[in-house]
């Protein structure tokens, strides 16, 4: 950081300390825009990230959030690529936001959009998703936390399982399957079997060690071990589903759906869409009319990779389905 910028920031820091938030905000904005106009993007970013953090840490979500958004503007304008340094800077600003600050959501969305536009991940950078998700979980914003942790890193399932479990403890004991499914099914839909299994395992271990825990019975076969919960049928459904997707056999999936039909009905359709997609992605059971590009593509990848050509798969979705080599 050049000494000139350091001095500017030190001066604004004094202003913030004295409570002159409006003035500091305006001046930082003016200085930053002067730098951007003369294409000194690095300097503008320095000023904006330091300035945003000063204001955010002083509890000034509005003005701090404004500078934070401005910083992302400059990132986009200067086509800054997502790398260790540029992401770290964004995350420092993100972490400086006061809890439940309304402007934060916009910042998170913009930061993901930036990483998607200039980085290698079309759905947004996993590390950024992970940190955003963890922060949302900490603020008890479960839906936002889910949306980001589902696309996060390999650490994400742990945080998601923890959040869903904590949420579950606020509800009736027989609702456990509903909460763990919120991690398991979306992970399956993103083709992340590892995360789905990890979240299920973490959630159910915590459940089993709770007091009074549910009744558990152990079942083993030559290739699988399973804990059966006689009082929580849908939890068994999920456990068996996780095993079935590895085999990709439509008959197994149908068997599950038939046996648990009554219980699934009790959910009021909450899992229907996800299960239909899972049926198509992993078991080749075509959904008559649907056009969700995510599921289409994931389905192609999984089915293509597995070379499964069962009868119920009406016709291969030819045009756009070269089996990508990236499956493993």
């Amino acid at each position: 950081m050049s000494s000139k910028i350091e001095k500017t920031i030190a001066r604004q820091q004094e202003k913030v300390k004295e409570g002159q938030f409006y003035e500091a905000h305006q001046q930082l904005r003016v200085i930053a825009s002067r730098y951007t106009k003369s294409s000194q993007h690095d300097s503008a970013i320095e000023i904006l990230s330091s300035g945003a953090q000063l204001l955010l840490k002083a509890g000034q979500g509005g003005s701090g959030g404004d500078l934070a958004m401005y910083m992302l503007d400059v990132y986009n304008k200067a086509e800054v690529k997502p790398d260790a340094a540029s992401k770290a800077r964004i995350l420092s600003v993100l972490r400086a936001f006061p809890k439940n600050e309304p402007t934060k959501k916009k910042f998170v969305n913009e930061m993901i959009a930036w990483s998607a536009r200039l980085g290698e991940y079309p759905a947004g950078d996993p590390e950024l998703h992970h940190v955003a998700g963890v922060l949302y979980a900490d603020e008890d914003e479960p839906y936002d936390a889910e949306r980001h942790l589902i696309l996060g890193t390999k650490d994400s399932p742990e945080y998601l399982a923890r959040m869903e479990y904590d949420w579950y403890t606020e509800d009736e004991s027989q609702t456990a399957p509903v909460y763990v499914s919120r991690a398991v099914l979306p992970y399956l839909l993103t083709g992340n079997l590892r995360a789905a299994n990890k979240a299920f395992l973490l959630f159910t271990s915590r459940l089993s060690s709770s007091t009074p825990g549910p009744v558990v019975q152990e079942v083993s076969s030559s290739s699988s071990d399973l804990r059966v919960y006689p009082t929580l049928p849908l939890l068994n459904f999920l456990g068996l589903l996780l095993l079935a997707v590895q085999r990709g056999e439509a008959s197994l999936f149908r068997m599950l759906k038939t046996h648990y039909a009554a219980h699934l009905k009790e959910l009021g359709g909450a899992w229907d869409e996800a299960l239909a997609q899972i049926g198509e992605m992993y078991f080749g059971i075509k959904i008559p009319s649907q056009s969700n590009p995510l599921f289409d593509m994931m389905g192609n990848m999984l089915m293509g990779g597995m070379k499964s050509g069962k009868k119920d798969k009406a016709k291969p979705r030819g045009a756009n389905s070269p089996a990508p080599p990236a499956l493993d």
């Binding site: 889910e146 606020e170 068994n236 994931m298 990848m301 597995m306």
Partner: protein, 239 residues
């Protein structure tokens, strides 16, 4: 049919089919389409908002947030000769990347990308904050609370990859000499080659660095280096 007997029947049916995708399969995130994640429909039961302080898992975090103490971070190099650096009163939001930058600057202009920060012998990703690290490792080695000051000391190891000292920077002459005398990459960079390289300690240090980065386990890397080195030495000892 009971849950147990259905499960048994299902597992038998399962065993008859081959495994097509392994249980730890992950589709490459770079191939995800550009859209947000699917989540299940909203639940009638809204999540309760915790009031500060947060729940058990976060207690370390809240302690750390207490304005009184702040966190003191110690960055200890794994190789003797590099400076140990202490960073007093760090905010819990300080990221590992911030620690790297601080170490790089204070140790005299090292290359941030060549520094690894380790906790309990495992590399910590840049994006983690001190609060995250504390919440995970609650009570793990390397954290101590000084009785009265209510100050939490967090200890990390620092690993310098080859070439870390390559960035020249305007440091004072004295600092510079310190770096030069300890820089792991210096002799290699000057171009020893062949067997000479293998005879130098630096090579094995570098190899260990690479293995650590790749395997992410210090014990295992150390073991491997010993195996490699032992094998190489015995192969040269014999005619």
């Amino acid at each position: 049919m009971t849950e147990l007997s259905f499960a048994k029947q299902f597992l038998t049916a399962l065993d008859a089919k081959p495994v097509k995708i392994s249980s730890d399969n992950v589709v490459d995130a770079k191939t995800y389409p550009a859209q947000s994640a699917y989540i299940l429909p909203r639940l009638p039961n809204a999540k309760r908002r915790r009031t500060e302080p947060a729940t058990d898992a976060q207690s370390a975090t809240t302690d750390a947030t207490a304005p009184s103490g702040g966190l003191t971070v110690t960055l200890k190099p794994m190789k003797a000769g590099n400076p140990t650096i202490t960073l007093p009163s760090q905010a819990p939001t300080t990221s590992v990347y911030d620690l790297k930058t601080a170490y790089a600057t204070q140790a005299g202009g090292l290359d941030t990308s060549k520094i690894k920060i380790l906790r309990s012998r495992k590399p910590v990703p840049d994006s983690k904050s001190l609060a995250d690290v504390l919440a995970e490792g609650g009570g793990a080695e390397g954290t101590s609370e000084k009785d009265l000051a209510k100050e939490i000391v967090v200890e990390f190891s620092v690993m310098l990859m080859p070439g870390a000292a390559a960035v020249t920077s305007p440091v004072s002459e004295k600092d510079k000499m310190d770096i030069d005398s300890t820089a792991p990459a210096a002799p290699v960079a000057q171009g020893a080659s062949g067997v000479e390289v293998l005879k130098a300690e630096e090579f094995w240090g570098d190899l260990k660095g690479f293995l650590m980065q790749r395997i992410r386990d210090e014990g295992e890397s150390e073991k491997l280096v010993k195996v490699f080195r032992g094998a190489w030495e015995s192969s040269t000892a014999r005619p």
